[in-house]
């Protein structure tokens, strides 16, 4: 966005105001997420900055809401439930989604566009409809309020992301590499595990991370499907936000933000590695 040297004063003013506008939009994007972190250290049960906090008085800050979060067996059970659900559904969604993406990227795939549209549809159908339909489906099988049904539902919601990211990774995949590998005497399996998979892995992991975060963050379907035994953090957080709002939620939110930062960093590392493997370097 360098200012071209032929720019006149009017254009210069415009470019500067454009930069300010963009800065404000970036602020709008990031400020709400960052603001909850200091607030989660509030010593008072309020959702706003107290005068003590504004004056950076250490007495205005405390870890009490983190104590309340990690010291509560209810919250800890929910965190455990969330991880059970997310990890299992991610593994299944990644496997099914990667296989499907491998098929979809073959030249000979019949009805590709239609089938892709079908496979992506769980992302598009309003969640409330999915939730109600899956609830009546699993209730009829006597499987509502079980981990099984929640995990299966989250597999459904997670696969579109895997299909999208792996298909994208495959679109830049050079098929000559397969022929090269086969011509040098590698078998099908060797080719798959030594050539295809390492190149595909960034896409697969990215898709898996998407599926994971989708499941971890999902509220509506679990509101319908989860019984008291399976309550994940999102449901507890949702009812917490609706009823008595306590800064414990902000402590949890901060933990989740920290986790998103870690996931984002992982994604970035994977992306760079992928670019390096393909011989592209960020300029």
């Amino acid at each position: 966005m360098a200012i071209p040297n032929y720019a006149g004063p009017g254009e210069r003013t415009w470019i500067w105001s454009y930069r300010v506008i963009c800065a404000l939009i970036f602020l709008f994007l990031i400020f709400p997420i960052l603001v909850i972190i200091p607030l989660s250290f509030n010593a008072e049960p309020y959702f706003t900055f107290t005068p003590e906090m504004m004056n950076l008085n250490p007495e205005g800050y405390s870890l009490r809401w983190y104590d309340a979060l990690f010291g509560s067996s209810e919250w800890m059970t929910s965190i455990r439930n969330s991880f059970i659900i997310s990890i299992s559904s991610t593994l299944i969604a990644t496997t099914l989604g990667t296989l499907a993406a491998l098929g979809l990227s073959r030249r000979d795939m019949p009805a590709r566009n239609f089938i892709t549209a079908l496979l992506i549809s769980p992302m598009i159908v309003p969640l409330i409809i999915t939730a109600a339909a899956l609830f009546s489906f699993y209730a009829r099988l006597n499987l509502a309020n079980t981990f099984f049904s929640i995990i299966m539902a989250h597999v459904v919601l997670g696969t579109p992301f895997v299909v999208i990211t792996v298909t994208a990774a495959l679109s830049s995949f050079d098929e000559q590499l397969i022929r090269a590998s086969r011509s040098m005497g590698a078998g099908k399996f060797t080719t798959f595990f030594q050539v295809i998979l390492p190149l595909l892995l960034p896409g697969v992991i990215a898709g898996g991370l998407f599926a994971f975060i989708t499941s971890l963050d999902e509220v509506v379907v679990v509101l319908f499907l989860a019984g008291p035994e399976q309550t994940p953090i999102t449901v507890r957080m949702f009812s917490g936000l609706r009823e008595e709002i306590s800064p414990t939620i902000l402590a949890l939110a901060s933990v989740l933000v920290a986790m998103s930062i870690c996931l984002l960093a992982t994604m970035e590392l994977i992306r760079r590695r992928g670019e390096r493997l393909r011989g592209l370097t960020p300029g």
């Binding site: 892709t116 159908v125 309003p126 489906f137 022929r179």
Partner: protein, 428 residues
Amino acid sequence: MTDATMDRPAAKASDDGELTTADGTPLAVSLRRSHAQARRRAFYLVLPLLAFLVITFLVPIATMMTRSVQNYEVADYLPTTTAAIADWDGTGLPDEAVYAAMAEDMVVGSENRTIGRVAARINREIPGVRSQMMGTARDIDEMSPPWKEALIAEDEGWANEEFWRLVKRETRTLTPIYYLLSFDFEYNSHGEIVERPEEYQVYRLMFLRTAWMSLLITTLCIVLGYPVAYMLANLPLRYSNLLMILVLLPFWTSLLVRTSAWIVLLQQQGVVNDMLVWAGVIADDGRFRMIYNQIGTIVAMTHILLPFMILPLYSVMKTIPKSYMRAARSMGASPLRSFVSVYMPLTVPGLAAGVLLVFILAIGYYITPALVGGDTGIFISNLIARAMQGSTAELKLALALSTILLVAVLIFYWLFNKLVGVDRLKFG
């Protein structure tokens, strides 16, 4: 690539001049066979996921949707009456045969305890029918023919023509009634379709509100997303990668976290109001109401959906060569003109992708409006969720509303696929 092409020896010409493979099959057949095999192989890879989705997603949704037109109470639980009333022309009272059939059905119905369900179904449209039917069913054993006189003597509701017309109408096992209700129409006592009284009209308003609020949110996303995407696409990579984090972090952050952040910021004792009071812009008693209303929903959803606009725009803008704009400038176009007539048309694919994605996601939103929308900022999804917890009738209404919403979403999805192509969808 496939084994077929690798392992088979090259084609050779047979005696009659037709090309065949080594084993004598014509080349065309062999080629077709190998293509079919390749297609099958590709399909087998997709099959597990496809089958999984069909069984645990598409079929449940389709099944649920069909329940929105089902209307089996009268036909199932009053089978004899259903048969007898078919001959009645709908004027005056039905004759003895219909009353006798009704009496017979009531005897069976009170034994099986199914009569209550029919009574409840009809009671929804003619209040008082429940006690009429239940009361008569209780005494039916002590009554004797002729049934017409006996029933009318028991309860004069049996002499109500409107009741019989309703029974006749409800013998149909498919009903559009829940769809009529979804658009604030209903049947009047003559079986004509009329608009509901104004005080009961909710759903049309809700659909319209969902549509205009989603449109507004989409517009805001364009206004905020376009300049940012442009900046990201035109900065040197090392800066744009850093700034991209500011877009991707919200994208990766939990929806509930982002919604609670907006509650923290916008509530009356929240950060934004505090700052405004502190800055002296507003008085302490003049704090703005920015949440639990439409403003709350619009602000929070714009924030949540903005990355879905920026990312597709960015990926298209990145492919537009910078020389195009320079060329336009060098040929004398003003900065504005070169931007509007050269750059913007090239970004249309990204814009279409972003707009459709944001709009599709927005019209089905549930969580954020439920948490920050109060009464005025909720969407049709919230009404559906509320109705789903109600009686059977409300549930069916909820299913009809869901079907309408789903059809709307699918139309836009189809459009998206047509204009953009689902296979071009990308994140990050």
